[in-house]
């Protein structure tokens, strides 16, 4: 187990991350209120969501201090995840279908 001083430092970090996540939540809502063109709105909203997700994964899930094996599992999973997300886009751009 980590010593108490180390945990106390981590707790302070959790509080900072919490405040940042709250602020970013309201930024996300604010972005949707300014009615940007759809591609820009999607890009910005997903960028903010990615930052928030990164903070949760990195600090609350302790990924920043996690072992390499976990990182390898995640990189493989994320590669498959991105491939799955790109499938509809590739299908949409298919010149034969279109």
């Amino acid at each position: 187990m980590g010593d108490h001083a180390d945990i106390d430092r981590q707790v302070k970090t959790y509080i900072v991350i919490f405040i940042t996540l709250m602020a970013l939540t309201f930024v996300t809502v604010a972005i949707s209120r300014i009615h940007l063109p759809t591609p820009a709105a999607i890009g910005l909203a997903l960028a903010v969501a990615s930052v928030k997700g990164g903070l949760v994964a990195g600090y609350f899930m302790h990924l920043i201090s996690e072992r390499k094996l976990i990182w390898w599992v995640l990189w493989f999973t994320i590669s498959c995840f991105v491939a799955v997300l790109l499938l509809p886009v590739v299908t949409h751009l298919d010149p034969i279908q279109n």
């Binding site: 945990i7 707790v11 949760v56 994964a57 609350f60 997300l85």
Partner: protein, 198 residues
Amino acid sequence: MDVPIPYTVAERPDTGLNNGKIAIWLFLASEVMLFGALFASYIMLRIGATTWPRGDTILNVPLATVNTVVLISSSVTMVMAWASLKRNDFGKFRLFQALTVVAGFVFLIIKYFEYSAKFHHGLLPSTNTFLAIYFTLTGLHGLHVIGGMAINGYLWGPGAKLWKTDPEHFTNRVENSGLFWHFVDLVWIFLFPVLYLL
């Protein structure tokens, strides 16, 4: 004769991790693909549709914003519950763990009001493609919230007995259930803008 399960606390020499940690991450990897497939379905349906409503014209953004705040807060209480165990403060653990479960309840109650309003106005999964994918994604996410609450509730109540006999093992269990709970929060962080705001 009781044979203890190996590597519940000690790290395996080959992975450098205890079994619970590697197991929960592999499970979360499968969960990423489950939600990934549904997100891909959402993209497919959206780019294939001739018209697609903005989420905020149909859904209740203020309620969803409150739910986002609730879920993010519950992630903090979850990690504070784990940190309390690391500080050997079992009383604080009970408090933060209870707050996490209560936040899960609040999230579901708000979701119940959201769903009820939709059904009341005749907005069902069969109404249109947007609502079909909305109910599928949020329904599956809601089931994950219920699952997380069950595990967290167990560790708050009867499962907490392990703290007396093997505190490090119990702390690992709380960390692993926390990883699942944070994942549930992470999924919502993406669902919120995708469904409600865009």
